[in-house]
């Protein structure tokens, strides 16, 4: 099976500061893949490189075509949705308007409404707050909104940047349960970058470990969980 997304020699950074030093990784359709890494390793930069927020050198192949250095507005139209670090809530719009915004690239109005209903069922808290300004919600609620918003564009791949950041453990668990459910029900491929490895490895099939801009370990999630150095560094035991 050819991979849905592959990166080869991915290099990127900010101005004079190089953060990624030539990454290789790939994701197959329907998978949940995790990239683990500490602060400063380059996790966010990796996702930004894929979704076109920063310039890159090297190759990124999506469904056989190169998408390196494409603009974000075009990348999402190719079927990749990015849930940014810190949620990226459009704070001044209501919850419902955020979801409409998520469906911006779509023209099938009725289906958009149907999808909205689906996500309201999955995330009832969002339904409760549908007309409220999104910026007023708690971190956990905003995270759910960010994910629902990304899914509104019916992407084939969702990039999630540290979804557990700043969330209480119970909320995080609920969140990851939902993610697993979405992947099972819709087959949406997911690439999750996380510091908090436990839950992420639980719902994923494969993972990579990113250190200082380089992939240092790759393998199945089972293998990663068993690997002692990974356990010590990212799983805390």
């Amino acid at each position: 099976m050819t991979a849905l997304l592959t990166a080869e020699g991915l290099t990127s950074g900010y101005g004079p500061v190089r953060v990624l030093h030539g990454l290789d990784f790939s994701i197959d359709e329907g998978e949940v893949v995790v990239i683990l890494g500490a602060n400063g390793a380059g996790k966010t930069t990796t996702l930004r490189a894929i979704s076109g927020m920063i310039d890159v050198k090297g190759e990124i192949q999506w469904d056989g075509a190169s998408i390196a250095n494409k603009k974000s507005e075009d990348v999402v139209r190719l079927g990749i949705a990015h849930v940014p670090q810190g949620r990226g809530t459009i704070a001044d719009l209501t919850v419902e308007e955020n979801l409409f915004a998520g469906a911006f690239i779509r023209k099938d109005h009725d289906a958009v409404r149907a999808d909205m209903t689906t996500w309201y069922e999955l995330f009832p808290r969002l339904a409760e707050r549908r007309q409220q300004p999104a910026g007023n919600m708690s971190g956990g609620e905003q995270q759910m909104l960010a994910i629902a918003r990304a899914l509104m564009s019916r992407p084939r791949l969702v990039l999630l940047d540290e979804p557990s950041l700043g969330l209480a453990p119970l909320v995080t668990r609920e969140l990851f349960d939902r993610l697993r459910q979405i992947n099972r029900d819709t087959g949406t491929t997911m690439l999750i970058v996380e510091q908090n490895a436990n839950l992420a490895l639980d719902i994923s099939a494969r993972g990579y470990v990113l250190e200082a801009g380089l992939m240092v370990v790759a393998g199945s999630s089972e293998a990663l969980k068993a690997d002692e150095s990974v356990r010590k560094a990212y799983l805390g035991y």
Partner: protein, 296 residues
């Protein structure tokens, strides 16, 4: 009592024009987060185009419409080629201010160079008749301006709240990065915002010149200050605020000018300035604006 009513209606009439320009300012601010110092001179240039068409024999209303269309294109072009290359407002505020000031100077001088500095006669769009309401009379001009304003507000409200473009504009103002991530073509939204503001400005300029009955290169700067006062009072991100603010500024300055000798005619602008300061001290987000939360 007569005098009071006359002044009251005069205040509304002038206020309506301030509100129109304030609307353009609010539009650009909502779409781009930018205060456009060149708004007045852009409107001036548009109004000269309107005048030119009318002078060449066109019907004044048609002239205004054509000028609005041309201004839309011009405004979009300005955003694309002059404003965008300079960078984001948040990181380069000073550069952006300088660019809009440069635009202010250039447009004003260009208008003077093309059309000369002598005053031109500008037609009364709504005629010169009056309507009697009790002891006072209000001109058709005033009624017409208020009616146009009302239509503008409704249309803009519908645009922002009920259309996809409006949603995109509000999203971009709130979080342009996230807007990009959902596929909003931010550049196009910005161009649209500027184009729309330029068109609104063209309309406001024509209404103002029609009220003054003359047109020359100096009339817009004062109007800009009054419009700023209106937008500040109403809240820079609220079209409704622009209207209410404009009418209030019109009333307050006319009343103060009429009843308080100290203020007189000369200091009406000063009164507007003090009003700006007071509002910013007491309620910086204006009457209808959202409270600005400083995110750390």
């Amino acid at each position: 009592m007569d005098l009071f009513l006359d002044r009251f209606f005069l205040g509304l009439q002038q206020g309506a024009v301030y509100a129109s320009v304030a609307m353009a300012l609010v539009l650009i601010y909502r779409a781009t987060g930018l205060v456009n110092f060149a708004q007045g001179e852009m409107a001036l240039f548009s109004t000269f185009i309107t005048w030119q068409l009318w002078d060449d024999g066109w019907n004044i209303v048609l002239a205004i419409v054509v000028s609005m269309v041309l201004s839309f294109v011009g405004g979009a072009a300005i955003e694309r080629f002059l404003i965008r290359p300079v960078g984001e407002v948040k990181t380069n505020a000073l550069s952006v201010v300088i660019v809009t000031i440069g635009l202010l100077l250039a447009l004003n001088a260009l208008a003077g160079w093309i059309w000369g500095v002598e005053s031109k006669t500008f037609p009364k769009i709504f005629g010169t008749d009056f309507v009697n309401i009790g002891p006072a009379s209000i001109s058709y001009q005033a009624l017409g301006v208020l009616a146009v304003l009302a239509i503008e507000v409704v249309l803009l409200y519908l645009l922002f709240q009920k259309t996809k473009v409006g949603l995109a504009m509000r999203a971009v103002t709130s979080n342009s990065e996230s807007s990009r991530l959902v596929g909003v073509r931010v550049g196009r939204v910005l161009m649209f915002g500027w184009g729309l503001a330029a068109a609104v400005g063209a309309l406001a300029g024509a209404l103002y010149a029609s009220e003054l009955a003359t047109l020359d290169t100096s009339i817009m700067l004062q109007l800009l200050i009054y419009a700023f006062a209106a937008a500040t009072l109403g809240g820079f991100d609220s079209p409704v605020g622009a209207v209410v603010g404009g009418l209030l500024v019109g009333e307050v300055t006319v009343m103060l000018g009429g009843y308080v000798d100290f203020v007189g005619e000369d200091l009406r602008l000063g009164a507007a300035f003090v009003l700006i300061l007071v509002v910013l001290l007491v309620k910086p987000e204006g009457l209808f604006g959202r409270k600005l939360v400083k995110r750390v």
